[in-house]
């Protein structure tokens, strides 16, 4: 199934899905959303792309291999546990910093966000790996 309309839509939708997935990921700390859903949405963009073109094209578009996404995700999740150790708190304690950014207001950054970003990348990588493998069968 190669439809020009679907291909055009997939190519245009991909950046939109990625931005939306990042938004959903960021609002996840206090509102519905989070790394898991964000990762699923990011993966959905690439799966749609792979449906419109094929998996090789989609992998090219992804630039990094899905495995590296998983590795990066696990690493981020692990790194997020380290600041608590340097702060002398028990393992896994959430450490926060607030940044004041002109025009945007206050930006709260912390290790839970970093951990969630790890989840985001891991879910993205895992789902893309599974679906691409199934599609290639």
């Amino acid at each position: 199934m190669k439809s020009y309309i679907v291909q055009l839509a997939a190519a245009r939708l991909l950046p939109v899905t990625l931005i939306l997935s990042l938004l959903v990921f960021y609002r996840g700390h206090n509102e519905p959303g989070g790394g898991f859903i964000g990762g699923l949405m990011a993966a959905a963009g690439f799966i749609f792309y792979a449906m419109a073109f094929d998996t090789q094209e989609a992998e090219k578009k992804l630039r990094v291999s899905p495995l590296m996404l998983i590795v990066a995700g696990l690493s981020f999740a692990f790194i997020s546990t380290l600041p608590s150790l340097f702060a002398g708190n028990p393992f896994f304690t959430g450490e926060w910093i607030s940044l004041i950014i002109p025009l945007l207001g206050k930006l709260k950054l912390g290790t839970p966000l970093l951990f969630d970003f790890g989840v985001y990348l891991t879910v993205w990588g895992v789902i893309v790996t599974i679906i691409f493998n199934v599609m290639e069968e």
Binding site: L67, L74, F78, T81, P90
Partner: protein
């Protein structure tokens, strides 16, 4: 304070390294082995820490005990961690040559580390829902390992394995849900405290039974054992050895933890039940093993039979009984894994696991037969090997507690175990090679050193456990004393 989290973190970091260097095939076994060695070193260090400083507790995320997830390492956990580390090291060394390239390049080593992460997590957690999560981590990794390679018979075994284990998880989760609904807590120490104060413990029986069924399935206890012999002989022997050593024992570990820490009210119901179940598990496992001719099937049925001894120790419920169960578990994890690894060596020489096809190994491989004798006769309980003392402690504990029937059953089962092991010995090593069987492919080849080292290593541990019974029994007694006095655990976690 990060120590109690390290048994989980080290496998995680190893997985990251393994996946990062995924293209470098030749590095994979060595990274996996390094991770396993670190785990073993850490486990020994933790055991010393627990011995000198008492129970190690970590409230993750700075959330105090009943609210957050608590990681707890007491003497029992630390013993299990050391055993898990020993098995991880042995299997990692063994798989360098025993697992084919195809499987190695399909995430074999990351999955072994994933399994270790789940097993270690189950041993250190102090929270029942977290325990469920670690069970799932362990099972997911084991699902991949058991199907890895995708041979037809593997998938056949895996379907049984996966479906029954998912049912067990469902029971486990239902039990957790009910218990949480009734007590409002998931922390093990808090549960123990609440249940010891509550006067309507009858309400807890539904959860207790659900947990019992879930752990019985995972530990392959009568009448829930049938999935084990149906699936364990299908994957490559290194994977079976890993499963045989650890997976069922995590079920037994959880059962001992739950039924010593908080389901202790209905002694009159549970302890006779444990004795019955333990006895039946022993007898049926050992009798079905006697009719098998595939080495791996014989050994699989023996896993079941030996689990019965551990349940018996729990049913006796004295310090000596629980200590016997712990000692026996330690002996069994080492010896059982070792017999599977030796079965892999036999297969390497003869190309078969079928006793009817094998014979005359003593003539061509005398050293291999010695390597087989140590774990096999250890399992059968021949002095001075570890199994003899394991059974001795359990049976004498049984007599002292006045449980004569189960003690005699345990004695008789020991005899049948000996029969099975002698059968493998006679068929594979002693009898002349069957007529009409062509010369073995691997007859003139040397066995890979990496496959012999772990067998020797585990054999030496079996011998050491036999010769140094007293200090090891003291460690087990100490752990059992801690288990039978839940106040120590509760105080360590909740404070005051």
């Amino acid at each position: 304070m990060i120590l109690p989290a390290l048994p989980i973190l080290i496998p995680l970091i190893t997985i990251i390294f393994l996946l990062f260097n995924f293209q470098r095939r030749e590095w994979q076994p060595w990274i996996g082995l390094t991770g396993a060695l670190l785990q073993l070193a850490l486990a020994i260090f933790l055991a010393v820490q627990v011995k000198t400083q008492g129970i190690l507790v970590l409230h993750t995320g700075n959330w105090e005990a009943p609210f957050g997830i608590t990681l707890v390492i007491d003497a029992f956990s630390s013993i299990m961690l050391v055993l898990a580390g020993i098995i991880a090291v042995s299997v990692s060394i063994y798989s360098i040559d025993a697992i084919d390239r195809q499987r190695q390049s399909f995430f074999f080593f990351p999955m072994v580390q994933g399994l270790m992460m789940g097993v270690n997590g189950a041993f250190v957690t102090g929270d029942i829902f977290n325990l469920y999560v670690w069970f799932e981590v362990m099972l997911t990794a084991s699902f991949v390992l058991i199907t890895l390679g995708g041979e037809k018979k593997q998938l056949n075994g895996a379907i049984k394995y996966v479906s029954i284990n998912l049912v067990a998880s469902l029971f486990f989760l239902a039990g957790i849900g009910l218990l949480y609904g009734k007590t409002g807590t998931l922390n093990m120490a808090d549960l123990a405290l609440k249940l010891s104060l509550a006067d309507n413990n009858v309400l807890m029986n539904t959860s207790a039974v659900l947990f019992f069924v879930a752990f019985s399935i995972k530990a392959a206890v009568f009448p829930f054992f049938f999935w084990l012999p149906a699936s364990y002989h299908t994957p490559p022997v290194a994977i079976t050895a890993l499963f045989a050593g650890l997976l069922t024992k995590v079920g037994v570990y959880s059962m001992i933890r739950f039924y010593t820490l908080f389901f202790v009210q209905d002694k009159l119901f549970w302890h006779p039940l444990f004795l019955w179940i333990g006895g039946l598990t022993m007898v049926i496992g050992v009798l079905t093993a006697a009719s098998q001719y595939d080495i791996r099937k014989i050994l699989s049925f023996h896993i079941i039979s030996q689990i019965g001894y551990m349940i018996m120790g729990l049913g006796i419920f004295t310090v000596a009984g629980i200590a016997g169960a712990i000692f026996f578990m330690a002996h069994n994890i080492i010896a059982k894994t070792n017999t599977f690894l030796v079965a892999g060596l036999i297969n390497r020489v003869t190309g078969s696991y079928d006793l009817k096809q094998i014979g005359g190994l003593y003539k061509i491989r005398p050293w291999l037969s010695i390597l087989f004798i140590i774990p096999a006769f250890g399992l059968a309980g021949i002095p001075p090997l570890s199994g003899f003392f394991g059974k001795l402690i359990l049976i004498s504990a049984g007599f002292n507690a006045g449980e004569y029937v189960i003690s005699f059953v345990a004695l008789a089962v020991g005899l049948f175990t000996l029969f099975s092991m002698v059968k493998i010995w006679n068929e594979a090593f002693w009898k002349p090679r069957p007529e009409g069987v062509p010369p073995y492919e691997g007859e003139n080849e040397n066995l890979p050193v990496s496959m012999v080292i772990p067998v020797v290593f585990l054999g030496l541990i079996t011998l050491t456990m036999g010769f140094a019974v007293k200090p090891i029994l003291e460690i087990a007694m100490n752990a059992a004393g801690q288990l039978l006095d839940p106040k120590i655990y509760i105080q360590a976690v909740l404070g005051s």
